[in-house]
Every structure is written in structure tokens, then in C-alpha cells.
């Protein structure tokens, strides 16, 4: 056998739409936890948004946070249980909009946590409204004629912001639309988790993702659209990695 879904990803069918990037990341996270042997030492925090039910699928201990507050929960948990692997799993609305303060301050306090950030440039769960990361010109339910600077301001590159914070150790932007990208994203999650266990500071792994339902495209077309449009604004790759010097 060469491939099988990780055991920690249980058999409960996931509620995500067909082709959703969340599903792929939901495989990578438990794969890394299993490989690190941290199954019985992980405390995860789920957001409000499409991933609100992450706790139903990945068999570790979970706390379900209020909208945007996951990094606050994680900060406390990690300080109270320093030998546990503590991470949050958040979307763009949760992390880069309502929870901006919690995100920035947890990262800048150098909390030894990892934030996994799914950026699909739209509010998926509530039905496809504009997100802080929605691209200019992109149409959503609340900017049906396309995002315009004069009406809605600019999309937020919160990962770039995070890379400028003294408290962050590893800040990277990945995607999961090809096999190669998925393998890189998995290595990034592993590195972030390892740094957080080594007490090197806070880590942010952004995954530029698709929301084919919200974007109103087929999953394959959404991947193509993401390559052509999202990557131009949200450049892939490591923005910061100070873990190896510390």
C-alpha cells in the first residue's frame, strides 16, 4: 500500500463541498500529527466558519472558539500546557477580519503555537460574502459587481504583516492544488509544528485555497483560476524562517 488517508482522520463524512481545499488540509494536519507521534499531546482550536466542525473529523482534542478568538484560546492553552502541540485552524474571515487583533497579538507575543490559515478569499459558510482577502474585481454576494477600492478598500495581506512581527518564527504561504504543492504544504505544517514544540515562537501557515462553491466554478476550474489570479497577489513560498538560527 502506498497511500491511505491518515487514521486520525476518522470515517465521518466531511461536510465540505466537493473539491474543497479544506479536505486536503484536513488530511495533512493529522498526517503530520501522526508522524510526529503527538496524537495524545495535541490540543487543537477550531474557528467559526466552514471549518467550525473540524473537531468532528480529526481525532484529537478540540476546543471550538468564538468567531476570530482561536489564537486567544491557543495562547492560554499553550502557556498552561507547554508540552502540548497547540494549533488553531482558521479561515480568512475568522483570522484576518473579526479576529485580527487576536491573531496579530498572539503571533507577536511569540506564543509557541501554529496558526493554519485557509485563505479562499470569501466567506464560505455564510454563503459567499466578501472577505478581507477578496481580490479586487472579484465578485461575491456582498460585492456583486466586484470588489472596488472606493467601496471596499484593499484585500489584506495579513501573512506579510505577520512576517514583519518580531514574535513570529516561521511564516509561509502554501497551496494544495497539485501533488507537489500538497507535499510542500505538508512539509511547511511539519516545520511549523516542530518549531512550536521547540519553543521558537509563533508560526503561521497560510494555505491559499479555493472555494469553488463560493466562486461558482468547478473544482478543477477553481484551481486554475486560483493559479492565474490568487497567486499573483498572494505569492507562494516562505516569507520568514528564523527557526533554524534560533
Amino acid at each position: 500500500m502506498v497511500y491511505k488517508k491518515p487514521t486520525l482522520l476518522n470515517d465521518t463524512p466531511m461536510h465540505y463541498c466537493p473539491g474543497c481545499s479544506h479536505g486536503v488540509v484536513h488530511k495533512l494536519v493529522p498526517e503530520v500529527i501522526e508522524e510526529m507521534g503527538m496524537t495524545d499531546k495535541t490540543i487543537a482550536i477550531s474557528p467559526v466558519g466552514c471549518a467550525v466542525f473540524a473537531y468532528k473529523y480529526i481525532d484529537v482534542d478540540w476546543q471550538e472558539a468564538a468567531h476570530g478568538r482561536a489564537p486567544a484560546l491557543a495562547s492560554a492553552v499553550k502557556r498552561l500546557w507547554p508540552d502540548r502541540l497547540v494549533f488553531t485552524y482558521q479561515g480568512d474571515g475568522d483570522l484576518a477580519c473579526i479576529g485580527t487583533a487576536e491573531t496579530i497579538h498572539a503571533l507577536n507575543r511569540a506564543e509557541n503555537i501554529t496558526i493554519i490559515f485557509i485563505n479562499n478569499a470569501i466567506y464560505g459558510m455564510t454563503g459567499g460574502q466578501m472577505a478581507p482577502t477578496t481580490l479586487l474585481g472579484m465578485k461575491t454576494a456582498t460585492c456583486p459587481y466586484g470588489r472596488e477600492v472606493s467601496l471596499h478598500g484593499y484585500p489584506l495581506k495579513i501573512t506579510e504583516l505577520a512576517a514583519n512581527l518580531e514574535g513570529t518564527c516561521y511564516v509561509t504561504r502554501q497551496s494544495v492544488h497539485t501533488v507537489a504543492a500538497i507535499n510542500r504544504a505538508k512539509r511547511a505544517i511539519r516545520k511549523a509544528f516542530e518549531y512550536s514544540m521547540q519553543g521558537k515562537g509563533s508560526n503561521l501557515v497560510e494555505i491559499v485555497s479555493t472555494c469553488n462553491s463560493g466562486w461558482k466554478m468547478s473544482p478543477a476550474k477553481a484551481n486554475k483560476w486560483m493559479e492565474e489570479n490568487m497567486f499573483e497577489f498572494y505569492h507562494l513560498g516562505d516569507l520568514k524562517d528564523t527557526g533554524s538560527d534560533k
Binding site: 500500500m1 502506498v2 497511500y3 463524512p13 465540505y16 466537493p18 479536505g23 501533488v179 507535499n183 484551481n223
Partner: protein
Amino acid sequence: MARMKGAVVVDTERCKGCDLCVVACPLDVLALTGKEVNRKGYNFAHEVLADTCTGCASCATVCPDGCITVYRLKTE
């Protein structure tokens, strides 16, 4: 010459027919069913060129629902 022989097992009830595995397969081993649907009403992925599969696991890697298990055998 040694050659890799692969086999793909799709959990068809878990499959949502997103088509990403079909697109990811370099050898067109997989396709979605035409009319047949699973209990949730999705067309699902299945092997159409089973002999061609090398077990590269691209399909399983990109599958968002973890429906695919891949086996590989070295043959002479």
C-alpha cells in the same frame, strides 16, 4: 524491465465526485461515473484504465475527502 503496477480503491460512498483525482491522474486511469450515483447522489470516481495505473498516488494525494487508497506492486 521492472515496472510498477498500481491499483486504486475508491471509497465510492465517501466520494463527492469533485473530479480532482481524474484531473490529477497523469495516465487517465480514473473517470467519474456517467449515470451511476452513490447514496448521496454523487457521481463517483472509478478506474477505467486499471492496467495503466502505476500507483503514483497523485489521485489519492489530491483527494479532499480521503476516499482513495493506493496499492503498488513491482512486476517484472
